[in-house]
């Protein structure tokens, strides 16, 4: 069979992505966990974002994604973006990373770092009759740190993210067969062909290496790393196809049991070697989340990309020894380094990871049934006002997508209790929970809610 008639092409030709499989998949989920429709996935990235290059510009229906979030352009029609949302739903912590503890609860606690939960993921999962899948990507620093306490089962009861993909897989798919996926002839040929091309590129790199000094060789080493990532990515695409075609987790199992990057390997997080590990581990966790949603094992998942207020990615192309956290302090101050550029690079890194997730959800046909919310705890300079929230998916749940809502903002320090003109994060949660079948006009502290965002639905 020629390449043009590969299994991938055939599947696409059949329209498997959004038409052929989705009703079946949705039915699986519904049967598994109750009657309400839809899934919810919280995608958390740490250390905030740089407003100036984040989100979009333009009108409600005609907008352009800004540079940090440009990677999401292929999914523009799947997005609903809200600018100028006040996230100050918990007074006293307006300028701090410890807002992570309350960003999904929207309730003040009795102690500074303890939330009066439960958080949104638990509320929704409970509504569906289950519990959320809480995933993380990064080595653990401490069992007790508040830096990753985003998800709260109840007041004072934070749920730690699970980092061990292998263990999680076994937990979620205990009865799955352990046999590796089989490839048909066309897929094998396609893999061989891709390998020939990439081997050729590697050979060209090798011939150059001998003529370069250490700095040049280092540059080509990074190029080699990029090729390895590309190769893995192509392999993962094959896995996705198998997941979509059969809801068979054996392909994912092979991947999970394969050469997993060790999240606790101790690779310094300020080194360039760390980011590919983080990326590979995180994306595998997302694969697992998608598989769990696809097969109805879970309806709600929360992905925590590292802890806030600590270290962070050393993003490709940013020559800085500063941590992601630290550069947020300098985001508007060129005297202390090019903070904006570095922060934008970090934002772009996570935007690319979100794109990866949306690609997956779309490929297996459940993006229209799944609401994804990109969360973080602060914006640059650690402030809580003028947030831009990006949501994706949920078309089948009545969400109006391909929209950019630029709300007016009435001052960074206005108190929403007395000035209800500011839209709040609580309002966004109210709207999302309505899409998921929870008919309540409040979430968290009722005083911060104004009934939701009607724009979410039209």
């Amino acid at each position: 069979m020629s390449r043009s008639l590969s299994r991938r092409t055939l599947l696409r030709g059949m329209g498997w992505g959004s038409v052929f499989l989705s009703p079946f998949v949705r039915q699986l989920a519904v049967e598994a966990q109750g009657s309400a429709a839809g899934n919810f996935l919280a995608f958390y990235s740490p250390n905030g974002f740089y407003r100036g290059a984040f989100g979009a510009d333009g009108s409600t229906t005609s907008f352009t994604l800004r540079s940090s979030t440009a990677a999401l352009a292929p999914h523009q029609s799947d997005l609903a973006i809200f600018r100028n949302i006040s996230n100050m739903c918990y007074p006293g912590t307006e300028r701090s990373h410890n807002c992570i503890t309350r960003v999904m609860t929207c309730k003040a606690g009795t102690e500074n770092l303890v939330a009066t939960g439960p958080s949104f993921d638990h509320v929704v999962a409970k509504h569906f009759g289950g519990t959320p899948l809480i995933l993380g990507a990064q080595p653990q620093r401490s069992d007790f740190t508040w830096h990753r306490q985003l998800s709260w089962a109840a007041a004072g009861n934070a749920v730690r993210p699970q980092l061990d993909t292998k263990a999680l897989f076994t937990q979620l798919f205990p009865a799955e067969p352990g046999t590796p996926p089989t490839q048909d002839d066309s897929a094998a040929k396609e893999n061989k062909r891709n390998k020939s091309v990439l081997d050729g590129v590697r050979a060209d790199i090798a011939t150059l290496q001998g003529r370069l000094d250490a700095r040049g060789r280092e540059k080509l080493e990074l190029h080699m790393t990029s090729l390895r990532e590309l190769e893995q990515s192509i392999e993962r695409s094959e896995v996705t196809e198998m997941m979509a075609a059969t809801c068979d987790s054996s392909a994912l199992q092979t991947k999970v049991n394969g050469s997993l990057p060790n999240p606790a390997s101790g690779t310094p997080r300020t080194s360039k070697a760390y980011t590919p590990l983080l990326k590979a581990h995180g994306e595998l966790q997302l694969d697992l989340a998608v598989q769990a949603l696809l097969c109805g094992k879970k309806r709600v998942a929360t992905m925590i990309w590292q802890e806030c207020s600590w270290e962070g990615v050393n993003v490709e192309g940013v020559d800085s020894n500063e941590s992601h956290h630290k550069i947020t302090h300098y985001a508007s101050d060129p005297i202390h380094g090019d903070g904006p550029t570095q922060m934008k690079a970090c934002d772009a890194f996570y935007a690319a990871r979100l794109k990866y997730l949306l690609d997956k959800l779309k490929a297996v046909g459940i993006l229209d049934d799944t609401i994804v919310l990109w969360l973080t705890e602060v914006r640059e300079s650690h402030d809580q006002g003028e947030y831009t929230w990006i949501t994706a998916g949920g078309r089948n749940l009545g969400v109006k997508l391909g929209r950019y809502h630029d709300f007016p903002y009435y001052g960074p320090h206005n108190n929403p209790r007395t000035d209800t003109r500011n839209r709040t994060t609580s309002d966004l949660f109210v709207s999302i929970q309505k899409a998921l079948g929870i008919q309540s006009n409040t979430f968290g502290d009722a005083e911060w809610c104004h009934g939701g965002l009607s724009e979410y639905f039209g």
């Binding site: 100036g52 050729g200 250490a214 080509l220 990029s226 590309l230 192309g317 005297i335 904006p340």
Partner: protein, 582 residues
């Protein structure tokens, strides 16, 4: 040509040998010291003309005689194509690119520019984007193999046929001839893929490989094989360096032919090629790109989103775009259509305005969206690029001015002076010491209060904040104003840089004019351009012959662009030095 003193003298007469030197990038701390060499000589040392120039670039660089600072030749390197260069090179070699430059990730800014060779490489998403673009192209190009060469339609094309196919695409992709060993290697890939699929897939695989090869993705500056510690770039490397430097694209047919003919070790030929390339529309684009990055207004839209538009509703996205366009188009206009000098850039009593910009500037009688040359109003201290709304608004807050950052730009980027906070100072400011405890304090009053209450910080800030205060008669949006809080704004100050232009200035426009006519300002501008053109931190030598040449050419910016291509740093590379600090 040998390496004797006479040859050196001739080379020195010819071009810009000895002009540029790479220095370390360590800051000088809060000293306000001038970057090495930026001050320059006061007498125009190094005057020389075009008559009787020695034109040859010999295989070995002439050794300078005693008394003349040796040129520090840059290291050999590979330099990944920028997004614009990638797309234009891709299209030149393979046809249509599915990817646009805007869809590729932007590169980090180093030393003010996003094209620093040391900072850009293939990593992250880029590898996948290259892959996707290559596969899309290959599928399209091989849809009709016969259109490439009928011999490829055979059931099993022979080696000569496939070799010709490989050469046809590899030579423009690599911007140099390919040798037999390279053709054999790609031929092996073709045969390998063909053995399990078919001729079309095999041809597509080869195209994908070429489009992802480092020989395509990087510009090579490796030079000729040598046992020494310096090498001369090959003819084809010189051709690429020249073309990408001036037009952001690969060599065109005429330049490539000159490389094939071995003519690019002739500096007069290179000068002629450079002058020709400046006629290319892409050279205009590149000049605009330089000024946008030099003035750091590329993030203008990012910064502008934080503006308090409620206080100025006319500050619409359309006006913001016009503000950005004004500066880019003005710089191109001056360099290519106007007088072309640095002086004009910094003092022009006109600009390119449309209706909304004219309203912003208080100019009557202008309408429409198109930018046209318009005389600026007198009595508003506006003239030259430093008083453009883009430059002023990008260094301002939501509704308030920011003399600190306006002054810092003048200090760092117009005068090439260094400043950085002492390491033991906490960057967190005590806000109470920043604002004068008087009602509606002006920025001058704030600064005077700061000087009294934070003397250790103020010692450093006093070096540059007064330069920012000179622009206080332009608000956060770049609008002219004479008063604030019913107080007259004082914009006068004193320039002290050890030049003939030292003395009092009345406002920012006068300050900019003084700097543009000073040796230090001219040397600094030459240095900033050289850093952009060469993709590395570059500083003008103490002799500042480049600045002298710049002055001799009556500060012609176009001449400066050409002059960089004639220097030894353009042709020679050090070998092995990069082993010291990986």
């Amino acid at each position: 040509m040998g390496c004797g003193g006479r040859d050196w003298e001739r080379a020195r007469e010819l071009g810009l040998a000895g002009l540029l030197v790479l220095l370390g990038c360590g800051g000088l701390g809060c000293t306000g010291e001038v970057d090495a060499g930026a001050a320059g000589p006061q007498d125009g040392t190094g005057a020389r003309g075009t008559d009787g120039r020695t034109i040859e670039v010999p295989p070995t660089r002439p050794t300078p005689p005693a008394g003349i600072d040796p040129v520090e030749i840059p290291d050999s390197r590979i330099w990944r194509l920028t997004p614009t260069q990638y797309v234009r090179s891709f299209e030149a070699a393979f046809g249509t690119s599915k990817l646009t430059a805007e869809e590729l990730p932007s590169d980090p800014i180093q030393d003010g520019y996003d094209n620093n060779a040391g900072q850009i490489f293939v990593g992250g998403e880029l590898g996948r984007l290259y892959y996707e673009n290559a596969t899309a192209m290959a599928a399209a190009r091989t849809a009709n193999l016969g259109a490439i060469d009928a011999c490829l339609m055979a059931a099993s094309p022979n080696d000569a046929c496939v070799g010709a196919f490989i050469t046809k695409f590899a030579e423009p992709a690599f911007r140099r001839p390919v040798d037999a060993a390279e053709v054999d290697a790609y031929l092996a890939v073709y045969r390998d893929v063909a053995s399990t699929t078919n001729a079309k897939d095999a041809a597509a695989a080869v195209l994908e490989l070429l489009a992802q090869s480092p020989h395509f993705l990087y510009r090579m500056e490796l030079g000729e094989p040598t046992d020494g510690d310096e090498t001369r770039l090959t003819q084809f490397e010189v051709a690429s360096e020249l073309s990408y430097m001036l037009t952001d694209g690969p060599p065109d047919a005429e330049l490539y032919a000159a490389a094939v003919a071995g003519e690019l070790y002739d500096r007069e030929t290179v000068r002629a090629q450079a002058t020709r390339l400046l006629e290319d529309p892409n050279a205009r684009t590149k000049v605009g790109e330089f000024f946008a990055q030099y003035l750091q207004i590329t993030g203008f839209k990012d910064a502008s989103v934080a503006k308090d538009t409620a206080s100025f509703p006319a500050y619409t996205p359309a006006l913001q775009q016009a503000i950005l366009d004004e500066t880019v188009e003005f710089s191109r206009y001056v360099v290519f259509d106007g007088e072309g000098s640095l002086t004009e850039l910094f003092t022009a009593p006109y600009s390119l305005l449309n209706g909304s910009l004219a309203n912003l500037y208080g100019v009557a009688g202008v309408s429409g969206d198109a930018l046209n040359r318009v005389d600026l109003p007198e009595g508003q201290a506006r003239g030259g690029i430093m008083t453009h709304a883009s430059v002023l608004a990008v260094r301002a807050k939501a509704s308030d001015t920011d003399p600190l950052h306006r002054g810092l730009f003048v200090f760092r980027d117009l005068l090439c002076r260094n400043v950085s906070p002492p390491e033991n100072v906490d960057a967190t400011q005590d806000q109470s010491k920043l604002h004068a405890p008087v009602e509606d304090a002006t920025k001058l009053e704030d600064f005077q209060f700061f000087q009294e209450n934070s003397p250790s910080c103020a010692a450093c800030h006093s070096l540059f904040v007064p330069f920012g205060l000179a622009f206080e008669n332009f608000d956060a949006f770049g609008r002219f104003r004479e008063t604030q809080f019913n107080k007259n704004l004082q914009t006068e100050g004193t320039l002290t840089i050890g030049s003939a232009q030292d003395g009092e200035f009345a406002d920012g426009a006068e300050l900019a004019a003084k700097i543009a006519s000073s040796d230090m300002g001219q040397a600094c501008f030459a240095q900033r351009y050289a850093t952009f053109a060469l993709g590395r931190e570059t500083k003008v030598t103490p002799q500042t012959l480049l600045a002298a040449d710049f002055r001799k050419a009556e500060l012609s910016v176009a001449e400066l662009l050409v002059a960089v291509t004639l220097d030894d740093v353009f042709y020679y590379r050090a070998v092995g030095r990069g082993e010291e600090s990986p």
